[in-house]
């Protein structure tokens, strides 16, 4: 762990990213301290600009506090990213592990299914899923997960394919270890590094997808998220730029931070790559 941190720390941008993410997490966790009111409350004069009428980042068309929305929305947006990523990693590992480990017909079947999901234009498919399940946090998470897992499956499959022929895995077979145990206890821990790296990037992508869905009017109207704010402010971008620009910047910074972290993780977890430089 300490060694991991030493390596991670070498990438200064990644440390910056981590700092930003921690700030955002802190913000999300303490949202109720800074803005105890429900972010949906109509607390003041509508469409006040930044620093006007006591609004740090302005208010939206109904007089809701944009800053409060950003702070409260951070939790939702990060959770959407995180849960969607976890779900898709779970599905991806399932498909990738079985396909890579067993090969042959199992591989064919599972990879055909994966290809199906890769062939469908993903953003439209996400829209379709959200529209069918009706826009809610749940359906958004599911939709993002469903369109994101094939990448994980391919990655995991590749790792399993190469790891399953490693001698330490063969050694497990020679002592009669069961397949499931070999997959879960022996192989899986060894492909966690790339999964963590791809996962960190998927969190960022998920946040972007959520904002895209919200832009098209497919957000959850009952929960404050950055996507919600963007949806609420998009038609007034020209006249009240602050309503969706600040959430946009929040997304930009978060996605940027997560990407920096992802690169840092990549450097730290796959040290070989770094040394070549």
């Amino acid at each position: 762990m300490a060694e991991f941190w030493t390596r991670y720390r070498r990438n200064r941008a990644a440390v910056l990213g981590l700092g930003i993410l921690f700030t955002i997490l802190f913000m999300a966790a303490t949202a109720h301290l800074f803005y105890p009111e429900d972010p949906f409350r109509l607390v003041g004069r509508p469409l006040s600009g930044p620093f006007e009428n006591g609004f740090l980042l302005g208010s939206d068309s109904l007089g809701r506090d944009v800053a409060s929305g950003i702070v409260h929305g951070a939790k939702t947006s990060l959770l959407i990213g995180l849960i969607a990523t976890l779900v898709s990693i779970f599905i991806g590992i399932f498909f990738g592990a079985f396909a890579g480990y067993f090969g042959g017909r199992v591989d064919d079947l599972l990879m055909r299914i994966t290809e199906i999901f890769q062939t469908i234009p993903s953003f439209i498919f996400a829209i379709l899923l959200v529209a069918i399940m009706k826009p809610s946090i749940f359906s958004i998470v599911i939709a993002i997960a469903v369109v994101s897992w094939p990448g994980v499956a391919r990655l995991v499959r590749g790792e399993f394919l190469s790891l399953k022929n490693r001698e330490f895995v063969q050694a497990c077979h020679t002592i009669g270890m069961s397949d499931l145990r070999v997959m879960l206890r022996e192989i899986l821990p060894n492909c966690l590094s790339p999964i963590i790296v791809i996962g960190s990037l998927m969190v960022a992508t998920a946040i972007l997808i959520e904002s895209g869905l919200a832009f098209l009017g497919l957000g959850d109207p009952n929960i404050m998220s950055w996507g919600f704010q963007i949806g609420a402010g998009r038609t007034m971008l020209r006249s009240a730029w602050w309503v969706c620009t600040f959430p946009g910047i929040a997304i930009l910074i978060t996605v940027l931070a997560i990407n920096l972290i992802g690169e840092g993780l990549n450097d730290a977890l796959n040290p070989r790559l770094k040394e070549r430089q």
Binding site: P121, I124, L128, I132, T245
Partner: protein, 328 residues
């Protein structure tokens, strides 16, 4: 076996393998769409104002929506086999006419985006890799990340504000100047003029991907043994970078570009919406909300065929770029 007949065999095999995938996509989407509440008739009647239930029943009958689902699916699949994509309930047109009309716009945007994104991505990635760990590298990396992380619609609108409203260089939206209806060469220029902003917006998003990929790929290739050999042969660094490393580093980028084509059809919904670009993404989006099942299935069908074909083409290109890969 001669290479050409090998490629032919490979292509036909891959296309055959694509068929079940495409059928599966149709079936999945067919049932998914039917899970959704309401149908095309509800939308049409809703938009029309009031309509009697009898009239709506009549419409359903006309569209074949009164049949049980498996029958509808069977009819659809049967029609697809004879290359008939059916009839768009909403547009009252044959689906293929509708799609091919819009496909041209999508293909145009897609191609120009890929060229711009891949081209600049390679260039920037190359520059970053050659100037590793200098400020130029940092600037390029951060630039790429920011273009990736900025929500697309925001970039698009800002482009319009800056380049259409303030500078007046480009039209805000659409594909053609509808006041003029140019013809011939003027029309080509006009469309190109309209294409600029959507292309830049969309490629900014993908640019990041290619830049980072190219950079990583270059760095990886720089670490390969053959680079040492090339140095030991006394080649110049220029030659090593542009002939030896570049060509190897391009390989994963080519693969990625192929994968992106599929994503582009869907990923351009937002850009099409912002720039009123009459592409397939917007059409799919609208037909989803109109429950125009045939049309949506048609779009899914076309785009999956497109993905299958593009992947195939990329793989074949790859075979020529990388002699190690044989068409198998």
């Amino acid at each position: 076996m001669p290479r050409s007949s090998k490629i032919f065999r490979y292509v036909s095999k891959r296309l055959l393998q694509g068929i079940p995938i495409i059928i599966a996509i149709i079936v999945i989407n067919f049932f998914l769409l039917n899970l959704a509440e309401g149908d095309a008739v509800d939308v049409l009647a809703g938009e029309a104002g009031s309509a009697t239930p009898e009239y709506m029943e009549q419409l359903r009958k006309k569209f074949g929506l009164d049949q049980p689902l498996p029958v509808q699916l069977a009819v659809y699949l049967k029609n697809v086999l004879v290359l008939d994509l059916g009839y768009s309930f909403r547009h009252e047109m044959a689906v293929q006419d509708l799609i091919f009309d819009r496909f041209a716009a999508t293909a145009l945007l897609m191609t120009s985006t890929i060229i711009l994104a891949v081209g600049f991505g390679i260039l920037l990635g190359l520059m970053a890799a050659m100037r590793l760990n200098t400020w130029k590298d940092a600037v390029i990396t951060v630039f790429a990340l920011i273009t990736y992380a900025t929500p697309l619609f925001w970039v698009g609108l800002m482009m319009i504000v800056v380049f259409s409203l303030y500078l007046g260089w480009f039209p805000t939206s659409g594909m053609e100047n509808v006041a003029a209806f140019y013809e011939g060469w003027d029309r080509v220029v006009d469309i190109a003029h309209h294409l600029v902003l959507p292309t830049i917006t969309l490629s900014l998003f993908y640019l990041a991907l290619y830049t980072r990929m190219m950079r990583a790929s270059m760095l990886e290739q720089y670490g390969q043994d053959y680079v040492v050999t090339a140095r030991a042969k006394g080649l110049t660094e220029r030659r090593i970078t542009f002939v030896h490393v570049l060509r190897n580093a391009l390989l994963p980028v080519v693969t990625m570009a192929g994968v992106q084509v599929g994503a582009l059809i869907g990923g351009s919904v937002i850009v099409e919406s912002v720039f009123a670009w009459p592409g397939l993404g917007m059409l799919a989006f609208e037909s989803l909300f109109a429950r125009d099942l045939n049309l949506l299935l048609g779009i899914f069908l076309l785009s999956s065929i497109l993905v299958v074909v593009v992947n195939l083409v990329v793989d074949i290109i790859y075979c020529f770029l990388d002699p190690r890969i044989d068409v198998e």
